[in-house]
Point group: C2
Chain length 479, copies 2
């Protein structure tokens, strides 16, 4: 049986996400990111197209290293201005029944106690349709505005992240037993304190002794999304993530990464069916290959060269303006980030000696992911090849214009994939986790690291233990 | 001309807000706080009743000092479990046009850079209908779970709050000029970097050198709400707040507080029309006085004595279980909190020698605010007296049951007050600030401390200043 292809839409609460300059396209509605209607319309559209989730990216700083300032990012609206990604979720949830919402939050600048409450609230109000895209921040411009002198070093970021997740898992899975909330009107007991436990966490980075503030939500732990490219990042994803976002340039590279992730996950006792892998992709489609190509060229005509380099400068930490536009990047070998980027670019097109000018010319749509251009059959063939040969489970679909890119995909490609039995024609589960993992439980599976705290405190210290005597015994009910 | 009476609904993202035990009442829907429909229905109801705003309270800890644990709070669901108050706002905004949303957030545990973004996002998505209820946290149980050994001392909390607000004002009012976002498709300029300014804040508690992440929202600075009872709290409110929430026991005490606030505000150059004062109140009403009284008694029969003492213990920091239920509180004079509470209780009823048991008997509905019980005429008379003699502008209406208490008020009292010309029959302004302050601008007035940063950076350092030369001049538009 052929596997189901999972669809996620990749968006961000800002006027330009991945395709610099296309905000100028007359059909692009991305600048309406401040309007609730933009988001509620998008959510309804994606649910009509049987997407599993809308994945909201985020940054909490600006891309300001290209030419030494944020001027180009601002001019091109490259991920700035950027609003909070969690606020519009409830409005979207109110107009949909099945679509999931992946909400990015950088734990680097958060307190686990409050973040756990925010995601529990999201999970309650969406009735179990939320994922947390776990990010550790990389932007210098974020760090200095958030009380740090400089970003936390990369490896330490992951140690801190491991402990952060551990704290939230304890709160989400362990603190409240399933039947803690009994809402017993007769006995006047809403929550049974004997079934609510302080987590007594005291670690290297965090101290959280208390109980979770929220009662158990449908999924308890939100679905964990993660996008880690480095070795340490992949290890983290293999351990924690239920949705992993990768950015391979080719099907072959996807195979390498998915095999590697499967192997790493095995070390944590997790089998390949316990997480889904998505590759970043931009699809430009229309009725025919020719019409799609023409549409693609139309988008390209709006792209912004310097805006694109500003995005690439932000992602890599390299100021590309310092290099000769026509000097091959392989000659600039004094920088790890450049080498990593070059590796990626070469995989996208091994026959090109990539220069900064090439990035502008050939990466203006799609960012760090491949771009597919074609009619329904060509696209569907290609998507199936990515899944069947690349070992991935689905796609994280970026837009050239929004909602146009998603509308085109849903109009032309989804029906073709449905005919081939590769895209769902109904949502079977109630929660995001059930739908995404084809699971019959909304909760994390037993091999997930959060599961170890399921029932872990049952019988241990509870809120009821330390309660003193009541001088008002006769008044426990109303007098 | 008689002044307009402003109505706010007081709610919280939890099963019990002020009236312990009434979650057991069959008509009380408060336990549905996890359902978006509860919130969207409530928002629509309040807008039909011409309320100015829904005010969402919050705590980030639990009330655990009564009898030495949170067991009673949990049993009675007294403000625990408690979800994040900001998440459901966008769903409510999507089904209303005018209602404002006051969202509580304790700055004690937040980073100003991220909080500023969250409220800008709320303001954008609600089209200017958001207020920030500024809170500095008092709960020990919050502090220890959020990385502190103990709560920040009271006066230091306000120094920190002053600087926190200063940082957010700089971001909201100063960082982006009004015409920074030009969205000029021809020239390819979304935001003009010359009109975006780093705030370069370096203070005692916070360092925020960068630019705000968000473009200017309709109100820029959200409407500032504050509830400060202490001298330092009142000074803070008089300086910053546009909506001040007070908890006097009587009309006479309200007069004292409003006069004091007006005097304090004058020292900051602010006249009385620049902020509105609301008193906490619970109104139980029906067609007739008798029917209202019967309803009230029905609610009382569901109240929880120990739950109420648990709430009072949380609010005052005093474990009431340590005292003889029948010992007058005036005999327990070794504690400042008790004395402050006693002062309040005595003002509510000077003829009573208040004991813990009296608190249970007479404060089970209404918490720290007065309770009015009666038919439309009696209630309207009383509300007018509070406003006309007490010098307040309106009410922060708590519920005994929800949405029942609000439904009754809107069905019986609002029409009566409209007939008397005291409650609005239409929303005149577009934003919360315009409606609340009867102002013709959505922005803070010139005497507000945020106003000093309006245009403050124009002509000063901008994002464009430091931009280096472009090696891609020919590529600034698309190639």
């Amino acid at each position: 049986m052929k596997s189901r292809i999972i669809l996620n839409a990749f968006d961000m609460n800002c006027p330009t996400h991945q395709a610099a300059g296309t905000w100028r396209h007359p059909d692009n509605q991305a600048w309406r990111y401040k309007d609730l209607e933009y988001w509620t319309d998008l959510a309804k559209l994606l649910e009509r197209g049987y997407f599993d989730s809308l994945f909201m990216a985020d940054v909490v700083g600006v891309y300001d290293n290209y030419r030494g300032s944020a001027e180009v990012s601002l001019a091109d609206a490259d991920q700035v201005p950027v609003n909070d990604p969690a606020i519009q979720v409830s409005a979207m949830a109110a107009v949909t029944k099945h679509l999931g919402f992946g909400v990015t939050c950088s734990l680097t600048y958060e307190k686990p106690y409050l973040l756990a409450r925010r995601y529990s609230t999201l999970d309650h109000l969406t009735k179990g349709r939320v994922a947390w895209n776990v990010v550790t921040s990389y932007l210098y411009s974020a760090a200095i505005n958030l009380g740090l002198d400089k970003p936390v070093p990369h490896d330490e970021r992951y140690n801190l992240a491991d402990e952060f997740l551990d704290v939230t898992y304890k709160l989400w899975e362990g603190s409240w037993e399933d039947d803690a909330v009994i809402r017993d009107r007769e006995r006047g007991i809403f929550t049974d304190g004997a079934k609510v436990h302080p987590i007594r966490h005291k670690g290297q980075y965090y101290s959280v002794p208390g109980i979770h503030l929220c009662e158990p939500s449908p999924q308890r732990t939100p679905v964990i999304f993660q996008a880690g490219a480095s070795g340490r990042g992949r290890e983290f994803a293999a351990k924690h993530a239920e949705g992993i976002f990768i950015q391979p340039g080719t099907v072959e590279q996807a195979r390498e990464v998915t095999d590697d992730l499967a192997k790493r996950a095995m070390q944590f006792g997790r089998t390949r069916d316990k997480f889904k892998i998505f590759t970043l992709l931009t699809v430009i489609t229309a009725e025919t290959d020719e019409a799609a190509q023409k549409k693609y060229e139309g988008y390209l005509s709006y792209s912004s060269g310097e805006g694109m380099l500003s995005l690439f400068s932000g992602w890599t930490g390299v100021d590309f303006s310092k290099y000769d536009p026509d000097q091959p990047l392989e000659a600039v070998n004094n920088d790890n980030s450049i080498r990593a980027l070059l590796e990626l670019l070469v995989k996208i097109d091994p026959n090109r000696r990539w220069t900064p000018r090439d990035i502008i010319k050939h990466r203006s749509i799609g960012g760090l992911g491949p771009v597919l251009v074609g009619g329904p059959k060509k696209i569907a063939d290609e998507l199936e090849r990515w899944v069947d040969e690349g070992g991935i489970d689905g796609f994280n679909l970026a837009y050239a214009i929004t909602p146009g890119t998603f509308e085109d995909f849903i109009e032309h490609v989804v029906p073709e994939l449905q005919r081939r039995g590769r895209v769902r024609t109904a949502y079977e589960g109630n929660t995001l986790r059930e739908n995404l993992l084809d699971s019959d439980s909304p909760r994390v599976d037993d091999t997930h690291p959060a599961a170890r705290y399921r029932g872990a405190y049952t019988g241990a210290e509870s809120v009821a233990d330390s309660t003193g005597p009541s001088p008002f015994a006769s008044l426990i009910a109303a007098e």
